[in-house]
């Protein structure tokens, strides 16, 4: 069975979902269920920890899906570390999607602060999945300080532009010793399939599902796209060639 393993935990689905931008908690819950996803991110800043009946949290906990709190909104390592500890206490999980974006316009991750925070938090026992730019060297540096996965972006978050950073993603996938989850910019099931065919271990999708005309059907479309892209990867895709290759080679009689 082809299962994804991150920090010793097994996943049947290679599709992770974000929970923002949905029109209602019910819509979000249905989309998650249909997608088959087993790990969803939740923005720490959106959750009302003081209120255990908080609707969003309630719907997610009831669905039994694993929660991956993210630190969206923090601007540096110090704030991220504080947020991580808060999330661990509130949600009883040491899993963390580390997002540090000091720039509120493009929400691009800060590599320096991310590396600093990963080093501190990994030592404290956190399972860190950092959101980063598609930078192969940064990925190796994060491995050195104990990251559990890397989450490079395909394009600016929410932009639906697809695999704009393809060349760098290919290097990251080829060189990584930890799972590579392609995050941000995936705007269509075909993008997700391409990412999986390329060899990504998983993809994270939010906007493309949440703001689709029918988010539940779109979640299902992503489910099959990810599964089929992974299947193609496992079946070993033929190399793309510039010249035609005859299906029945002319020199086969020599064999």
């Amino acid at each position: 069975m082809d299962r994804l393993i991150i920090a010793g935990k097994e996943f049947n689905s290679r599709l992770f979902l974000g929970t923002g931008k949905f029109s209602s908690n019910q819509m979000m819950s249905e989309a998650i269920a249909t997608s088959g996803s087993e790990l969803v991110t939740v923005a720490l800043k959106r959750m009302d920890f003081r209120n255990p009946q908080h609707l969003m949290l309630r719907s997610l906990i009831d669905s039994g899906v694993n929660l991956l709190p993210n630190t969206s909104g923090v601007r540096n390592a110090e704030e991220a570390i504080f947020a991580a500890r808060l999330a661990r206490e509130a949600l009883q999980t040491n899993w963390l999607k580390l997002e540090i974006h000091p720039d509120p316009r493009y929400l691009l991750p800060d590599p320096i602060e991310t590396l600093k925070a990963t080093e501190v938090l990994a030592k404290e026992g956190f399972i860190i999945l950092p959101y980063i730019n598609a930078d192969p060297v940064l990925c190796k540096r994060l491995e050195d300080v104990g990251t559990s996965a890397v989450m490079p972006l395909a394009a600016p978050i929410g932009s639906n532009q697809g695999l704009q950073t393809r060349a760098m993603l290919e290097i990251i996938i080829a060189e990584s010793n930890v799972p590579v989850i392609i995050d941000a910019g995936i705007g269509a099931p075909s993008h997700a399939a391409q990412a999986m065919e390329m060899g990504a271990d998983a993809v994270l999708v939010n906007t493309a599902i949440a703001i689709a005309g029918d988010p539940v059907r779109m979640a299902e479309a992503f489910r099959w796209a990810v599964a089929s892209g992974r299947m193609a990867r496992m079946a070993q895709l033929p190399k793309t060639m510039r010249e035609a290759q005859a299906s029945s080679p002319l020199t086969s009689f020599l064999n």
């Binding site: 923002g20 931008k21 949905f22 029109s23 209602s24 908690n25 923005a43 720490l44 800043k45 959106r46 959750m47 009302d48 630190t71 909104g73 923090v74 601007r75 110090e78 704030e79 991220a80 504080f82 947020a83 808060l86 000091p102 720039d103 509120p104 316009r105 929410g158 639906n160 906007t207 949440a210 703001i211």
Partner: protein
């Protein structure tokens, strides 16, 4: 170069010409471009763009949805004081208005907080007039500190301050500061603000830069629509935003659309903006900056608000009282402006859901270890 210097490179007459001479073709080009220039924005707020309003609205809706999703941020103001040393010709709190002046005590502030919390709010906007001796930095900082345990997100709309004072407020837990220029029409500014510290145009226009330097997370800009030509004022405001967002790249920005409404003892001004023009302005801002938070208050009517939320607005107030102590019912203190939409927060939340949006009550968690 400070913004004040840049501002002087755009003489009013030239700006006016740029806006009013915009052609339909320029509007269409502006709508088609990915990164809008100042000339593009001028075209979108011009009279020529009026005929393309429906197209602008469609595009604005789509851009907002893509960036903000199906969500609407809920906030509410808490007026701490109506004491004010300024004379502003349009404001109910103006120094020369003979109204009862109130400054809330700690107990009253907490009482207001309790009521606001009971409505479901977790974001609050603290508002005062400008009375530095009684409602200065110490009073405001103290109010923020006693409210911190009760709200995830505190914004303020108070008198302009010095950079060091903003640093103090940031450390106390202030997330956003709203400071509207009211009008960028410099030679008319003094007419509307004849007395008090607020009459210093330059000090006010340089306030967002002090906020940026102080590291405040979010800066709220705006002009008081109806005071002078809204197109010209909005152009300068967009220029201000462009300048600030490049210089203070870590700062978030929001924009509000206060438009003049009747207040106690205040005559109406004659540059009023119509509903149709306000929709045009909101859409123009969205096309100009898809990441900008656009906010609408209860100054606007039920019908207008119900229809505008899906066109580009991303945050909305509901159930607001604009007099200090208003939530716990303090009938003597007069309000700053008249509320047009007096539906309860729950009614507004229901309306938002019926439009296919999720009302968001909390979208911030303090993650600074210093607090």
């Amino acid at each position: 170069m400070s913004f004040y210097d840049l501002f002087h490179q755009y003489p009013l007459e030239k700006v006016k010409k740029l806006i009013y001479n915009s052609t339909l073709t320029q509007v269409q080009e502006a709508m088609a471009s990915r990164e809008l220039s100042m000339a593009d924005f001028a075209a979108l707020i011009s009279p020529a763009a009026s005929s393309l309003l429906e197209n602008m609205a469609q595009k604005s809706q789509q851009k907002t949805l893509s960036r903000f999703g199906n969500t609407m941020q809920m906030y509410v103001p808490m007026y701490l004081s109506n004491e004010c040393q300024n004379i502003c010709t349009y404001c109910g709190f103006s120094y020369d208005n003979k109204i009862a002046r109130i400054r809330l005590s700690d107990a009253q502030i907490l009482q207001e907080a309790e009521i606001i919390k009971s409505y479901g709010y977790d974001h609050v906007l603290l508002v005062t007039g400008e009375a530095n001796r009684t409602v200065g930095i110490d009073y405001i900082e103290h109010a923020v500190r006693i409210l911190r345990p009760h709200f995830s997100n505190i914004s303020i709309e108070v008198q302009p301050m010095e950079e060091e004072e903003y640093v103090r407020l940031h450390d106390a837990g202030v997330y956003a500061v709203l400071v509207y220029q009211e009008t960028y029409t410099e030679e008319k500014y003094k007419l509307h603000h004849p007395k008090g510290k607020k009459s210093n145009f330059q000090y006010r226009i340089e306030t967002p830069e002090r906020l940026g330097k102080a590291g405040i997370h979010k800066i709220g800009l705006g002009v008081l629509l109806g005071l002078e030509d809204w197109r010209i004022d909005s152009f300068y405001c967009a220029l201000h935003l462009s300048y600030l967002r490049k210089k203070y790249w870590k700062t978030k920005f929001s924009l509000s659309f206060p438009r003049l409404r009747p207040a106690s003892n205040v005559p109406l001004h004659d540059q009023l903006i119509s509903d149709r023009e306000l929709v045009q302005l909101i859409c123009a801002w969205r096309l100009f900056d898809e990441n900008l938070e656009l906010s609408i208050s209860t100054r606007e009517s039920d019908t207008f608000r119900d229809n505008i939320i899906s066109l580009g607005i991303t945050s909305i107030s509901a159930g607001s009282k604009t007099n200090p102590g208003g939530y716990a019912a303090e009938p003597e203190a007069l309000e700053q402006f008249e509320i047009s939409d007096d539906r309860s927060p729950q009614e507004i939340a229901e309306m938002i859901r019926s439009k296919g949006y999720e009302p968001v009550w909390k979208d911030w968690e303090h993650t600074s270890a210093t607090i």
